[in-house]
Symmetry: C2
Subunit: 438 residues, 2 copies
């Protein structure tokens, strides 16, 4: 058997601990599949003294994690610190400067600095791998880069945030409202004490920006992702969607198209969607992730699994290490970073589809007529409209009016919202959710 | 850009034509992802004159496909002829003897001769790849070999035959009986004119034997797969399963366990199962395939997509070619063939679970009592039992009695069937379907 692959681990939190346990527990199996042993030589974390459930003295310790990349006894640095910038980014740069490979679960860093880091890795003829950054344990980066490599992919979308999916599917199962379920999710450890990164859709947007680059050969463009989170979804919306044959899921969606001038355009959006019950994503419950990719030859592929947690994330990290041990040093984004296309963002207004709109209104005559008139004037065609119930908003009783549109341009919906903007009939801005189309 | 990878194609039927079209249509994309062009240099098929929808004169022609492996202008042979033995096997051997790589969609050949061929490929330091042999376009071989490589997998199962799934899900949707749906499937091209290979479960068993080898590091053992097809499933069974909260699917399942003597045992079975409605496989409809793999760190992964057809199969074939072009020549079964474990088959009688049993009985007093007594005497505990309807069997009106057992050993069910064997109350042998457990 060949020389071992020697790794250094930066960050010993939940995921870092999982990586150490996995490499120790499955060492023989990993060595057989990798063709050589994978061993940890050095580690670094913020607090040396903390009890981590394994014997840290077996590995060399560095107080300054950035040093890990420069050690002679390290072939690959595994970065599990997190954060788009700061020590993680410094460590990544040092690692490539030293000609070593980097494996990371850091979606924020890859979404913001992926092209820079890929360029550095390619210049050093070494690997940058980040399977764990998207959809946890699901090997979806590999599936798109390699498994579906022969295809022109035109759309990739999915459930990319386990916290949001846990909250939405629990709201669906229990009929409870967002705040109560979030509270419970925090107590159970499914949501952070500051949950905004997850529930406002930022985490899903990081993953989507990475996925779309891999899928379409476009440069990562996180800034162009349009993001709406799930804070405003009511139990009443979920009940109404259910009655219409839909489940509500936070969907990240990316699509390439060619505009009227023949230019490729990239559409990227994270947004709560109504998903038809006969679509597999409608049955993805709990903290699970799922990604759909559509290719010109393979058709529709679906990949589903645990989107977070120490075990699944460690599984993805070590799969990357096994690839590196086997000599697989491909371009981080499937094609060389310099060849990635800089596609302009698509105009969402030109997209066509069905949408769900919910209005929280004062319960008085004329409100429905006002909404209907705005739809008519904006050219939005209504498929169904019902007044679904009453809720208490800041001590006032309000009625809820939900409608589903026929297929039509998103620009028309935006125009209808503009016409209704500031109307005294509306107690709060309307909630719009797109309906996932096949 | 480096030298092109030169391939020869044996077999120009539906899949072969798809491979040619894909390589021609996506040539630029494939070259970017592979790092070099992939070009076809030579082809062979039974009938040279047939119109195949592309210009065959652009490629060198061999009447004898076995010669393809010996040509100087060929790096990889793509075998799409089919058949476990005969020309396909001769071509594979010639190819490795000449030190060239082989890509194949031939599940029968890999299920029967996979270890011999892997041994030859490894001795020649070349690649044997067969992503297209299992689950069509779904990159599940890659996902298990590489994506989940860090895990000890303990169970792998799924819907491995699109024809059976089309028939079962159409029976479910329409309430029609097996024969009528099979007839329609044949007219639509979803089933062969001789459908026995599919509907008797042999095709799924080939795929399962390959999957379990990859998943568990055991030698391919097709002969040890227990196989039951779907011919005997009635519309009444599907209706009864539906009323109980299950869908019926043909499931291939493989599992490793350790017996009382500490020996690893391999369980492999293709069998119609009752799948709980809250399991993702219950929602896999039409000619789709889906594979579930359970690992010690990653948890449960699900991969779903088109299981057959020219486009999806070509996608998998060309993905293998891109891997080879990138220099990825790993062990065909993930670990070297000589290291694959020869695990003895598991004793199914020791397995525990719930089962559905359906009896077609003479509609007269005492029949139910006889069945109930056999269950009692065999130690099978009954969770529910109902008489579901009447059918006509060979001109006689028969009643259908269905029951679901509590969790219990499969040996007890076998004993109950033995006790009822030859009973004049039964118009035909009972149908047993296992219930998929989480």
């Amino acid at each position: 058997m060949s020389e071992p692959l020697r790794i250094a681990l930066a960050g010993l939190g939940t995921v870092g601990g999982g990586v150490v346990r996995l490499i120790e527990a499955n060492a023989a199996l990993i060595a057989r599949r990798a063709g050589r042993p994978i061993i940890i030589t050095a580690i670094s974390a913020r607090n040396r003294g903390r009890n981590r459930g394994f014997d840290t003295t077996r590995y060399a310790w560095e107080d300054d994690m950035v040093i890990l990349g420069e050690r002679d006894d390290v072939d690959v640095v595994v970065e599990l610190v997190g954060g788009a910038d700061g020590p993680a980014l410094a460590l990544a740069r040092t690692t490539f400067d030293a000609g070593k490979a980097l494996v990371t679960a850091n979606k924020a860093m890859i979404a913001h600095h992926g092209i820079e880091l890929a360029t550095r890795a390619e210049a050093a003829h070494t690997a940058l791998k980040f399977e764990a950054a998207v959809a946890g344990g699901i090997p979806v980066i590999k599936a798109l880069k390699e498994g579906a490599a022969a295809n022109r992919l035109h759309r990739v979308y999915g459930i990319l945030n386990g916290t949001c999916n846990y909250i939405l599917s629990t709201m669906e199962d229990t009929g409870r409202d967002f705040a109560a379920v979030l509270d419970e999710a925090q107590q159970k450890g499914f949501a952070e004490s500051d949950p905004s990164f997850d529930i406002d859709g930022i985490d899903a947007a990081h993953k989507l920006a990475i996925l779309s680059s891999i899928a379409f050969g476009t440069a990562v463009d996180f800034a162009a992702v349009t993001v709406t989170g799930i804070r405003r979804v009511l139990a009443a919306d979920i009940a109404q969607a259910d009655a219409l044959g839909y489940a509500i899921r936070l969907i990240g969606m990316a699509q390439v198209s060619t505009d009227a001038h023949g230019q490729r355009r990239l559409f990227q959006r994270v947004h709560p969607h109504l998903v038809p019950r006969d679509h597999p994503l409608a049955h993805v419950d709990g903290a699970t992730n799922a990604v759909v990719a559509e290719g010109d030859y393979v058709g529709r592929l679906l990949f589903q699994g645990a989107g977070a947690g120490d075990g699944p994330t460690a599984s993805a990290v070590v799969a990357d290490l096994i690839d590196i041990a086997r000599g697989d040093i491909g371009a981080p984004f499937s094609i060389p970073a310099a060849e990635l296309e800089h596609a302009a963002p698509a105009d969402a207004g030109l997209r066509s589809g069905k949408a769900y709109m919910r209005f929280t209104v004062a319960d008085r005559p004329g409100t429905l007529a006002e909404i209907a008139a705005a739809m008519r004037d904006a050219g939005v065609s209504i498929e169904s409209l019902i007044q679904t119930g009453r809720i208490d908003v800041a001590g006032e009783t309000r009625a809820l009016v939900s409608l589903v549109t026929h297929d039509g341009p998103e620009a028309a919906i935006a125009e209808a919202l503009r016409l209704l903007d500031g109307s005294p009939s509306l107690a709060e801005p309307p909630l719009v959710m797109h309906i996932l189309a096949d």
